[in-house]
């Protein structure tokens, strides 16, 4: 798994590549929480287009990002879900809780 952040306007995009599982989800969590809590980024967009596999600990990291973003009144968005990633969020009844977009552009434009 590889994770990197980049600026796009006032938003930060978190690019994740590879499988997100118990082995590396702590790193995903750390990067997301740092963006939200320390850098106080108003809009964090997680790019999952390079992620084929995500387990429940990966989902938990995303849920934590979402919860923290709510307390800080910032935005937390996902895009580029593979069928497998979407299925996992559906199975955990979380797909409707997240703001999910088809592309980075849509996530950036969203009000």
């Amino acid at each position: 798994m590889n994770i990197a952040t980049r600026q796009n306007g006032t938003s930060t995009v978190v690019d994740v590549k590879g499988d997100i599982d118990l082995y590396n989800s702590p790193e995903v969590r750390k990067v997301i929480l740092e963006e939200l809590k320390e850098k106080k980024t108003a809009r964090v967009i997680v790019n999952l287009s390079g992620v084929r596999y995500i387990d429940s600990s990966g989902v938990a990291s995303l849920v934590e990002g979402l919860k923290v973003s709510r307390t800080l009144a910032s935005r937390f968005m996902l895009y580029g879900l593979s069928p497998a990633a979407r299925e996992v969020l559906e199975l955990s009844r979380l797909i409707r809780v997240f703001e999910v977009y088809a592309s980075e552009e849509e996530a950036l434009k969203a009000q």
Binding site: Y23, D55, S56, S57, A60, A84, I95
Partner: protein
């Protein structure tokens, strides 16, 4: 040969990917379609992360054994650990209406597999997972 493929490995999350690689191919061999193979891999993976986190309390050097077999028109996975067992009734998922991290694994396992039987025995805990061909998880209710 009753158990076709046996895997032994340490309770280290490093090896999760290797185990997934074997499970996914075994499910495909057993005749499941690509989507089902993904589901089965997820369920077995979740059960294994539970062994690492709960039975072995995140110690990474403990032995895990997994036996994969084709049985009764489906796939059977037997997972064995020698860690801390709990009473079967303490193995419970949580209410999913509450949005918070964690507590999703058992829920996923039960949705995906047709059978999940946990047996805490003397110094040895077994989890038996089974899924027959053609049964689908009830995604999104």
């Amino acid at each position: 040969m009753e158990h076709a493929v046996k895997l032994n490995f340490p309770s280290d999350p490093r090896y999760l990917g290797v185990v997934r690689g074997a499970i996914e191919r075994f499910a495909s061999l057993a005749g499941f379609d690509e989507e089902d193979c993904r589901w089965i891999t997820l369920a077995v993976h979740e059960a294994l992360t539970n062994v690492i986190r709960h039975a072995y309390q995140n110690r990474h050097d403990q032995p895990v054994e997994m036996r994969l077999s084709e049985r009764d028109g489906g796939i059977e996975v037997l997972m064995v650990d020698h860690g801390k067992g709990v009473k079967p009734e303490q193995m419970s998922g949580r209410d999913l209406e509450d949005v918070r991290p964690g507590g999703l694994g058992l829920h996923m396992i039960r949705e995906i597999m047709d059978k999940a039987v946990y047996s805490p025995l003397e110094g040895r805990n077994e989890l038996l997972l089974f899924k027959v061909k053609g049964s689908k998880p009830s995604v999104g209710e």
